[in-house]
Amino acid sequence: MTHLSLPAEKLFTPCDISQFDFESTAELNEFDEIIGQDRAVSAIQFGMGIRHEGFNLFAIGPNGTGRFTAVHQFLTARAPSEPTPADWCYVHNFDQPHAPNALQMPPGLAPQLQQAMQQLVEDLFTIIPTAFTSDEYQAQRKNITAALKEKEIQALESLKDEADQRGIALLQTPGGFAFAPTKDGNVITPEEFLRLSTSEQQALEKDIKKLQESLQKIMQQVPQWHRETQQRLKELDQEIAAFAVKPVIDEIRPPYADLPDVLAYLDTVEADIIQNVRDFLPSEESPLADMMSPAGGSSRPRLARFQVNVIITHEPDEGAPVVHEELPTYPNLLGRVEHISQMGTLLTDFTLIKPGTLHKANGGYLILDARKVLLQPFAWEALKQALRSKEIRIESLGQAYSLISTVSLEPEPIPLHVKVVLIGERLLYYLLCAYDPDFTELFKVAADFEDEMPRSPENNLAYARLIANLVHKEGLRNFDRAAVGRILEQSARLAQDAEKLTTHMQTVTDLLREADYWAGVNGRDPITAADVEQALAAQLQRAGRVRERLLENTLRETLLVDTDGAVVGQINGLSVIDLGGQAFGRPSRITARVRLGKGEVIDIERQVEMGGPLHSKGVLILSAFLGARYAAERPFSLSASLVFEQSYGGVDGDSASSAELYALLSALADAPIKQGLAVTGSVNQRGQVQAIGGVNEKIEGFFDLCQARGLTGNQGVLIPTANVKHLMLRQDVVAAVAAGQFAIYAVSTIDEGIELLTGITAGELDGDGRYPPGSINGRVVARLETLAAKQREFMAPPEGGDK
């Protein structure tokens, strides 16, 4: 069976650095292309180019494959040539203060309006008082008030004169006026009054009553006169204010001549200023009013209504925005209305409206991490709602869910035109497709990022240029040609395929950084392959505690794994332990025992619920293989048990199913298995050995144990032939194989494997449908027949029993 042993050159596919015409990455030009992701790039181009509703993008792929870099790179290249979106600001709604108005204007104009309005208020504090202290105004005001006084005086003086003529005085009492008869200018005493004749008294009383009625008429008119005077004063104020304010506001209008909304806003501002012109005149404000204003310390709190809250502004030629939100919470996405706590009360106004990421990205592109959006309460629903309704509506969560009863604002929604790019893992994408009916309507384009790419000469060179680019961006030392080759080899190892390169650039970048560190320690520039090798060894060493402890325990025979001799029903299986960023292989002893039974294979792992479904499936498949091959036409009268010895943490995967089958066959055939060999590979019902994952780590795990105990030349690993192309083994393994101290066997069938493991021919069916006696298969059949006979014997009624 030596033909199954793989030559050393099959175990590792080195990078042919002669294909590179550079000495180091310093000679390579900057390279900004995205490599190995043609499908994803094409999807991004399509998704970002198409302008129809719902064609947002979901970039799918594992972390570190450059999804964000690819999307961001593409968008930042494209966005500057696209139209710059409009500026947006919120202004006071003079009719409904709780619903601020949104104003749209061409890029760059919003800050101008904000500044102009600020200047307007400042100017009005000079212009209006000046107008109102002018001699003309004061004279007109005095005339109006004097006219009122004159009217009152005239009416009362006239009445007083009339009273005087009748010897009656008009007196002021604590609550009003009264008439009293006089003598020598003073009010007569009651005694004097009583001395008057009855007719005189009656005449006086009659006169006084008449005068009182006249006085009442006058006094009833007084409030009306006051109202008329107030109205005239107000009209005068408004006339003066209009005269002063109109020219100043007209100066603001020209840049916004084509913007009806802004002009309408300026009209309302003008009307409000005229209506409330007293706000601009010096007055003693109540300190309490100052404190109660959201504007806080502002000495002119009520004038905050003339401010312009610029939500979003752009430079005219900056193009479409590309925004990445690291923390996509509900308020960060949609914006929020802030409150100020004063005197135990939460106050707000339109100046406290803050923009969200959707505002910032409006008219451009928004990049979000899908998982983060889904993890933030209400953020996903809010994002979908905004995309569906095509508008950004700022609404506080507390308000929406009636959690708080604070008075808040309802800002006018802003139209939304944005392309959203979600970046997430495949599982997330498929789950959303399956469970969120809105998702496929809103995210119609998927950019599926590859985990790996072909290891072709073109890609090798592109990879080298990418390394050069990373070196430049990260400020690392340059890599020499051999170091680049070593990186490529490691990339293939990371891809678990000698014919592929990984696209998980985050891991590669980390390796570049670490190699740069070790080159620095070693005083080398450019970085050499030795530095890369040292970085890899350091990675292994740093993460090697568990691996070393397991190896140590095996060497000390706490964990029982034989590497020489031969044992019936016992085989070395191989598993992979993945601890974060590092994975390593671990040999485990698998044993099989058979006895008379009802034709079942007992998976002990499964029985104690330590085996996963894939492992159970593997065991069932090998049972089916056994039954089909050996008991198609005869009773399968055995009961077999399989177990991973000293397994305490559970087993899953079907990569040990071939090993389990070999152990069973050994037990059935009573054929010892060489313990210097270890096995990996799954098996199907036809007895074919199938590919598994982690082949490199598994081989290296068994090699490390054998090496520690001393290589004998009889040790090795059986792997599926389909895994040969995945081999990128460590150099010490390759060297041992080359030296004949270790062997890797590629097997395609169970028969090949069992022959290698036992040194006994598997045996093929002859023309009579029988296996050769002495062969493994023949011995298995013979054992099964023996077991069947014994079963029949046990099942037969005892002799003479019927009698």
Binding site: T173, A178, N186, V187, Q212
Partner: protein
């Protein structure tokens, strides 16, 4: 130059009108300035009491224009509460300025009681208007009577009093004017400005008076300016350029003509202080 020490006692007539508040504060402030004692006087108007005692008496109310009978007890009660409140306010204001004060209540005809009490004082402070709501004369009859008939100096207070404005002195080289000059200089301490309107027969006399005045005030820090005050000149034109904080003038014992006092009080948009020299004060007579 004579000093201001001859004003040792000030009498202030008070009522519950808005004007009275200005009167009270101005009087107390002046009292503190001149280091004089002050007496507040509230006169219970006998005319009101008589009115209430008449069998048919009733008042037309400000707010409703309706009528309501008047009762003597009600008027008595109101006047008593006015007196109590004024005593409190007056005492508070005087104490704030550390002025020695006294408060009296009299019953009778207001002008007569004021004039009688003014005999015991060196200066009577009174409001330009009483509290006749709606009857907006520029000068009330009580003020006019006091200016014409009081033997002492009289300050007629108006609500526009602002002592940061320059003091205006109407000066005619009389004895009374000589008494008025130091008072005016004293009041000008705040504004540091004194505008003297000189009344003289001709330019030559005016120049002489100005020279004498200049000599008298050159040691002070007051900035003095001099204007002619022509006999037939409209008084309001005197302060057409700048409203004075107070107008001070020397006034002979015989008192000003009714027409002049009325004209002056109408023309001055500020308090007017009529200075009348004390009856016997040979040692204080101007040198």
């Amino acid at each position: 130059m004579i000093n201001t020490g001859w004003i040792r006692h000030i009498l202030v007539g008070l009522d519950v009108s808005q004007m009275s508040t200005a009167v009270l504060h101005t009087a107390v402030r002046l009292s503190a300035f001149l280091k004089a004692d002050i007496t507040g006087l509230f006169v219970e108007d006998i005319n009101l009491i008589r009115l209430a005692e008449l069998p048919f008496s009733s008042e037309v109310r400000y707010l409703t224009a309706g009528t309501r009978p008047l009762h003597p007890e009600q008027i008595q009660q109101v006047l008593h509460s006015h007196a109590t409140w004024l005593r409190y306010e007056f005492g508070q204001t005087a104490n704030e300025r550390a002025v020695k004060w006294d408060f009296r209540v009299a019953r009778g005809f207001v002008s007569q009681e004021l004039l009688a009490a003014a005999h015991q004082s060196d200066l009577l402070v009174i409001g330009r208007l009483s509290s006749h709501r709606g009857v907006h004369k520029r000068v009330g009859s009580t003020a006019l009577t006091a200016v014409q008939q009081a033997a002492t100096s009289v300050l007629v207070v108006s609500p526009e009093a602002d002592f940061s404005h320059p003091v205006a002195l109407l000066y005619d080289d009389s004895t009374a004017a000589a008494y008025a000059l130091p008072i005016a200089l004293s009041l000008a301490q705040l504004s540091k400005q004194l505008t003297v309107f000189i009344r003289a027969q001709d330019e030559q006399e005016a120049a002489r008076i100005q020279h004498n005045l200049h000599t008298a005030v050159h040691d002070t820090v007051i900035l003095c300016s001099y204007r002619r005050w022509l006999p037939d000149q409209n008084l309001a034109q005197l302060w057409a350029e700048q409203t004075p904080g107070i107008v001070v003038l020397g006034d002979g014992r015989e008192g000003p003509a009714t027409s002049f006092a009325d004209q002056l009080l109408h023309a001055a948009p500020c308090p007017v202080l009529f200075i009348r020299p004390p009856v016997v004060s040979a040692h204080l007579h101007p040198a």
